[in-house]
């Protein structure tokens, strides 16, 4: 009896762990048979081996004896076939468990299905307008409140609220921070799509993915899904290829500062225009824009805890390192390049997409006032700009079919970087037992003890 329950319990422990087989036992039945003759024993052995039935008692087919109890789990699709076969051979049986899954559910606390962790019905493979992204942020926090908090960052030129999401595993440990922002340039729609995908992936997999669960012990993730909210909305409503924010200049005859030329890093020196009508207008001064100030203030405040600053753009397929304003390499250039190359290799492994890696000034163009350069200058060691798919065939207007593959491959690159940062600042050789593997070993040892006693 106890052995029996032990087996059920072990089965139950196997189910929640996503790293093991995702097994479901709906409609499976357990038969109790007592074979009376040697022919019946032979038939039952034959049935078990040809249909690959799961022997619960005895463990092995060779140990089936006439007159001894036999318990077999029959998968739902085979139940009728097995019943027919037993009837044909005049072997009497009893259905001990009419539905294995029901029993498992009773014994094991039901894990929240992954659908409940992310807003039901939210389609990550489509582009979403800002109102939907606002709603998504609220829902993400509500359905993952143990891990996610939504924070006020500031307001935009047109008075819209900027929020970022903080993903933080509750713990006594002091954590360091990974910052990621998307949508600094309005027309780069794949960028906010990636931030949303990233959050979804972390929340769906943080329990089952050993890499994610490891780094979440040490690192908090701060994600800003849309930095340039006004511009993003403008690109949905008025001009798909808008880039800048929506600050008015020259008495409202000209609009927009390039937020990625507006940060306080060699501001206004190179790769900019002082003319509002230009796409790379750097603004009236460093941090002249409320969006820039909102981001800069938070990062400045937390800079001693931020290990990694990632900013997501499109297009071009690049992982860019500092600087844009000079070809002089940053102090940790070698390490930055090594990690970026690792990330690009991981990305390429998925669909073969190749990314170029290097400093902005060498492989793209000169620019000043970029957020990434500023982050590095104030001391954040791992600062990268991502330019996502593609290389110009579609450019900014990337078809929705490419959202999923782009996000999947980029996920690999980003987690490679986060992983590296985690291992570097929190070196630890210990293997972490996940709760389910621990549970399984416990149960199996209990079962073993009872069997032996």
């Amino acid at each position: 009896m106890w052995l029996f329950l032990g087996i059920i319990f072990s089965l139950g422990m196997l189910i929640p762990g996503k790293h093991s087989l995702k097994l479901q036992y709906d409609g499976d039945q357990v038969f109790h048979v007592v074979p009376e003759t040697f022919q019946q024993v032979q038939h039952l052995q034959h049935l078990c081996s040809t249909l690959l039935l799961d022997l619960w008692k005895p463990q092995l087919s060779e140990d089936i004896w006439a007159g001894e109890d036999l318990h077999i789990r029959v998968p739902a699709p085979l139940v009728q076939e097995v019943k027919d076969s037993l009837d044909q051979h005049m072997i009497s049986y009893k259905v001990l468990i009419p539905d294995v899954q029901e029993l498992v559910d009773q014994r094991v606390p039901k894990e929240r299905s992954s659908h409940r962790q992310v807003p039901e019905g939210y389609v990550y493979t489509q582009y979403h307008p800002m109102e939907e992204i606002y709603q998504w942020m609220t829902q993400i926090q509500e359905s993952n409140s143990e891990l996610v908090t939504q924070h006020y960052l500031g307001t935009t030129v047109e008075n819209r609220t900027m929020y970022y999401l903080q993903i933080s595993q509750p713990s006594d440990k002091a954590k360091k921070i990974i910052w990621m922002d998307c949508g600094i340039h309005a027309r780069e729609w794949i960028s906010p799509a990636f931030c949303q995908w990233f959050v979804k992936e972390i929340l769906q997999n943080y329990k089952s993915d050993p890499k994610i669960s490891r780094f979440l012990q040490n690192l908090d993730l701060y994600v800003l899904p849309v930095l340039n909210i006004d511009g993003y909305i403008y690109s949905w409503e008025k001009d798909r290829l808008w880039r800048k924010n929506r600050s008015p200049h020259m008495n409202g005859t000209c609009y927009g500062t390039d937020l990625n030329r507006n940060f306080n890093s060699s501001w206004g020196s190179i790769g900019v225009s002082y003319n509002c009508s230009s796409e790379i207008f750097c603004g009236s001064g460093p941090e002249s824009e409320p969006e820039t100030r909102a981001v800069a203030q938070l990062i400045e405040k937390k800079k001693s805890d931020i290990l990694c600053y990632l900013t997501i753009h499109s297009y071009g397929q690049y992982i860019l390192t500092p600087y844009g304003s000079t070809t002089e390499p940053p102090s940790n250039s070698e390490e930055l390049m090594d990690v970026a190359k690792k990330a690009a290799a991981a990305l390429q492994g998925k669909y073969g997409t190749s990314y170029k890696v290097g400093s902005t000034s060498l492989i793209l163009y000169s620019n000043s006032g970029s957020s990434r350069d500023w982050a590095h200058t104030i001391g954040i060691p791992f600062s990268y700009t991502f330019e996502l798919r593609d290389q110009g065939t579609h450019g900014f207007i990337l078809p929705p079919e490419q959202i999923q593959p782009t996000c999947e491959e980029t996920m690999l690159a980003v987690t490679t970087i986060i992983d590296y940062v985690d291992q570097k600042y929190f070196p630890d050789g210990a293997v972490m037992l996940t709760s389910s593997s621990l549970g399984l070993s416990l149960c199996l040892s209990v079962v073993l003890i009872w069997t032996l006693s």
């Binding site: 796409e279 071009g316 492989i363 207007i397």
Partner: protein
């Protein structure tokens, strides 16, 4: 001088070469795009200009698994803003045969009662209907001409979107389309509207007979 293939001088020259190849080899049934720069060598010629020798990998837009090697020579004339760079190229191997697709498109347009008119290809979300795909590829090829004519060592152009296209009916065998396209220039990040008149026939290739930069109207 050997250049790192990922560095901007190489990638800009490569983009120009690829655009030229698109113009010469593209059609409604075939689009090519630059997949990678394998090698780049730069040679300055005092008082005359700069020459780039490039080894490129091009891909077929309609069949991404299909690639061809291409060697190209690009020559930027010194100082002369009105002369387009010289481009020569050789493609190794064979491109996909587009004759059937071209003929289908040709017959379809020739048989239209009303002239074809369309806007925003692709639309904001990136969708292109199957009927418009050849119209897009024709613009892709023709824009290669505009890119070629207007490129310098400090520019990198890509076709961003077709704002408007209108067929112009002709009595001869050619098809004629009047396009307004948006070009994206990477270094300045500008979106530049451009008008181009495109002539095409399956046996005679793509021709841009007239083109001009359009003023950027500040909407709003």
């Amino acid at each position: 001088m050997e250049l790192p293939p990922s560095h901007s001088p190489a990638t800009r020259a490569a983009a120009l070469a690829a655009a030229f190849v698109c113009y010469r080899r593209g059609s409604p049934g075939r689009g090519l795009a630059l997949r990678a720069v394998r090698r780049a060598v730069r040679q300055g010629i005092d008082g005359v200009g700069t020459k780039y020798h490039l080894e490129l990998l091009l891909e077929d837009i309609l069949d991404k698994d299909r690639t061809v090697n291409c060697t190209a020579e690009v020559f930027y004339h010194l100082g002369n803003k009105t002369t387009a760079p010289d481009v020569q190229f050789t493609i190794e191997g064979e491109l996909k045969n587009a004759d059937e697709a071209d003929d289908i498109f040709y017959k379809r347009i020739k048989s239209l009662e009303k002239e074809l008119v369309a806007e925003n290809i692709p639309d904001s979300h990136g969708n292109v209907s199957p009927e418009m795909e050849p119209v897009r590829l024709l613009a892709w090829a023709a824009s290669g001409y505009v890119v070629w004519q207007n490129s310098t060592e400090n520019t990198k152009f890509q076709l961003a979107q077709i704002k408007h296209v209108k067929q112009v009916k002709r009595s001869d065998e050619y098809l004629e389309f009047d396009y307004t396209i948006l070009l994206h220039e990477m270094v300045s990040q500008e979106i530049i509207p451009w008008q181009m008149t495109v002539l095409w026939h399956p046996r005679h290739g793509v021709q841009v007979t007239q083109d001009s930069q359009k003023p950027k109207h500040t909407s709003e």
